[in-house]
């Protein structure tokens, strides 16, 4: 195993250690009280956000400014137990939106609905029919939606799959197409789930604090092939496509 691979594995082990030591040792109740965000992600996203929205009271007192928790919601004394847990900031607005029953007219609206269906499937689990409901037009995109939940594969598996087209998957360039072609790099292609391909492409095109406010290609322009490859592989790993 190379030093880079060893460091990568070490970092993932460190992540696991953090979760186990700081979060997973807590009971669900403790976790809900200490880190409602993590509790919501792991256990009860929908229930928590729906209950919080129902329980939201715009007149509920906040901790006065100047305190460490200044501005946070505080108990109004009207109820006890879990009902007193409040989400900070503005009222919760993240109830899963209903998926449009009719096929949207624009490509962007269709994309949003397909991605929202994939997000909900990832959050709440299957079967897919429960997520899609009456939005029957989404069955046309069932392969894309379900493929987005694929577990990560090895680089060899992703490269090998390139020669076998499959519904719900697209060919992805690890390093952007133009520089790869210029450098004659042949092992630059992988087959990955369509929605992951689109998420990674979107990440590449958006401005990012990580690169001094530049979009990744602007930051990477003129940099070495190794550096561009590293960012390309890291993006696959962090988007859950490639095993670390």
């Amino acid at each position: 195993m190379s030093t880079t691979q060893a460091l990568r594995v070490q970092r993932w082990q460190w992540r696991t250690k953090i979760l186990k030591t700081h979060l997973n040792r807590l009971s669900p109740l403790e976790l809900l009280l200490v880190r409602p965000d993590y509790y919501a992600i792991r256990f009860e996203w929908g229930t928590l956000s729906r209950d919080a929205a129902k329980a939201y009271n715009p007149n509920q007192p906040r901790v006065p400014a100047g305190n460490p928790d200044g501005g946070q919601w505080t108990s109004d004394g009207s109820s006890g137990g879990l009902a007193r847990v409040r989400l900070a900031g503005p009222p919760p607005t993240n109830d899963p939106p209903d998926l449009p029953k009719d096929r949207p007219h624009t490509s962007q609206d269709r994309t949003a609905a397909i991605k929202e269906a994939a997000r909900q499937l990832g959050r709440f689990g299957g079967p897919i029919g429960r997520i899609i409901g009456a939005a029957y037009w989404l069955y046309e995109y069932e392969a894309q939606i379900t493929a987005s939940l694929d577990p990560p594969n090895t680089l060899e598996e992703l490269q090998k799959a390139v020669s076998t087209p499959k519904l719900g998957y697209e060919i992805h360039h690890i390093v952007e197409q133009t520089p790869a072609r210029q450098d004659g790099f042949r092992e630059n292609l992988v087959r990955i789930p369509t929605l992951k391909h689109r998420d990674i492409n979107a990440w590449y095109q958006t401005k990012n604090d990580d690169f001094g406010g530049l979009a990744p290609p602007d930051y990477l322009r003129g940099r070495s092939w190794d550096e561009r490859t590293k960012v390309g592989l890291d993006a696959l790993i962090e988007h859950g496509v490639l095993v670390p």
Binding site: R11, R15, I18, L19, H22, L23, R35, P36, D37, Y38, A40, I41, R42, W45, L48, S49, A52, G71, Q72, L87, A88, G89, P90, P92, T93, N94, Q108, D109, T111, A112, K115, E116, R119, G122, R123, S148, K196, R198, D199, I200, A202, W203, Q205, T206, K207, N208, D209, D210, F211, G213, A215, Y219, D234, A235, I237, E238, H239, G240
Partner: protein
């Protein structure tokens, strides 16, 4: 589009405005409207810089957004507060990176890598 002047906002209003911009960015990401995502990035930076210029760096007011239900709001608040709460923000980035809630999990994971490699130096 209604124009807002961040200089005239209170800290609480800036936090609320930051939240609204991040929620809009989440919608734009779902629609793959990249021009809008980048436009909102610039607006989020304006809010962040305004908070930084207030008092003893009021970016810490964004800490309350660590518990917001929307992952895009959380990831933007985390990255905006890495300079004022480096340990808490870093730990929460790890949580989002492990959440498998994409694309925010991807952005959080890439930020951790940029931090580790010294490319991203929050100030």
């Amino acid at each position: 589009v209604k124009r807002v002047n961040v200089r005239e906002m209170t800290v609480d209003q800036l936090v609320d405005h930051f939240t609204i911009l991040a929620l809009d960015q989440d919608k734009a990401l779902l629609r793959e409207d990249i021009a809008r995502v980048n436009q909102l990035y610039d607006q989020l930076k304006l809010v962040e810089m305004e908070l930084k210029s207030r008092g003893d760096d009021e970016r810490k007011a964004l800490l309350k957004l660590y518990q917001h239900p929307n992952p895009q709001v959380r990831v933007k608040a985390l990255k905006a507060t890495l300079a004022v709460a480096p340990i808490a923000a870093r730990e929460m980035l790890e949580v989002i990176a492990d959440s498998r809630e994409y694309p925010q999990a991807g952005e959080a994971g890439m930020s951790i890598r940029a931090l580790e490699r010294g490319i991203f130096k929050p100030t």
